[in-house]
């Protein structure tokens, strides 16, 4: 599709950027896919001029799908521009709203970068941003997994948060990965508390899906076995 005349004609109004993850040592921005919310290839998004993701491809990978994505992107970019201008003018509410948008749209390369700006906010503003900051950290973590061992380590981190009463509250795509890894970890150590919280969350999010129902049933039976073993 990208080599067609149809695409060439349509794309004239946009800056075209192709990012190739090469794994060649020294190549720049090898984590860019994860930063921009991607966890697989190909990944197609619109970015506004400071690099924030303003739309993701939801339809078919054709010019009609790209055009729909671009239209959404234009609207979101206009909203963001208003926030940027208001924040630059000293509007505190706009500054907080802009920080939240930046967490959602891949504006920070690392959690440390985001936390540095978060720590500079007033305490009253921080409360409302704890969840978006956590959701951002989860998206980035999932997008940067390097191995099965790393996935288990991530699952352990998620399980610890779940035990502490915190969990991912963002998009369902990321939620699937989050709860899957937490379940895998819980199974590896037979953690009843975490497993039961995963069951509740997966039921709430995906309860209509037959595969999810089967998965939940299996996990529920396993947890019952762990409980019996502990008696």
């Amino acid at each position: 599709m990208l080599a067609t005349k149809e695409f060439t004609d349509w794309s004239a109004g946009y800056v075209l950027f192709a990012h190739i993850t090469t794994q060649v040592p020294g190549d720049k921005h090898q984590d860019l896919l994860a930063q921009k919310g991607g966890n697989g290839f190909p990944h197609l998004v619109m970015l506004e001029p400071s690099g924030m993701v303003v739309a993701q491809l939801e339809g078919d990978r054709d010019v009609a799908g790209f055009a729909a994505m671009a239209t959404k992107g234009q609207a979101k970019a206009a909203e963001i521009k208003k926030l940027i201008d208001a924040a630059a003018g000293g509007d505190k509410a706009a500054q907080v709203a802009l920080f939240k948008v930046r967490l959602e749209v891949g504006s920070f390369a690392t959690v440390a970068d985001a936390r540095k700006e978060f720590d500079a906010l007033a305490d009253a503003d921080k409360a409302a941003l704890e969840q978006p900051l956590y959701d951002f950290s989860v998206r980035l973590r999932l997008g940067q997994l390097t191995s099965q061992e790393d996935a288990l380590a991530a699952g352990k981190e998620f399980a610890e948060a779940i035990r502490a009463g915190k969990s991912f509250k963002g998009d369902t795509g990321t939620a699937q990965g989050y709860w899957s890894l937490a379940v895998n970890y819980a199974k590896s150590v037979k953690d009843v508390v975490v497993a039961e919280r995963c069951i509740a969350a997966i039921t709430e999010l995906f309860g209509d899906n037959e595969n999810a129902q089967r998965f939940v049933k299996q996990l529920t039976d396993e947890v019952a076995t762990w409980k019996a073993e502990k008696k």
Partner: protein, 75 residues
């Protein structure tokens, strides 16, 4: 002693065949990257391959960036 040297020698050769050196892996990755860069879609119209240059172009022109993420290290 000669037998021990022989065994060690076989092990060294065997390991070097079984485990590609880091530089051989890097060469392979570079070759795959070059192959990807020769993709037909990149030749039809001007694509930025550098993120920072894409951002600069977008800032200058006021246009949105159509960003396509792909990989070369695997199919």
């Amino acid at each position: 002693m000669n037998k021990l040297v022989g065994v060690v020698g076989v092990l060294v050769v065997g390991l070097s065949v079984a485990t590609p050196s880091a530089s051989a892996q890097d060469d392979e990755l570079s070759t795959l990257k070059a192959r990807k860069l020769a993709s037909p879609f990149l030749a039809r119209v001007t694509w930025h391959l550098d993120y920072d240059l894409a951002l600069a172009d977008a800032a200058r022109s006021g246009r949105l960036i159509f960003a396509y993420f792909t990989r070369s290290y695997a199919p």
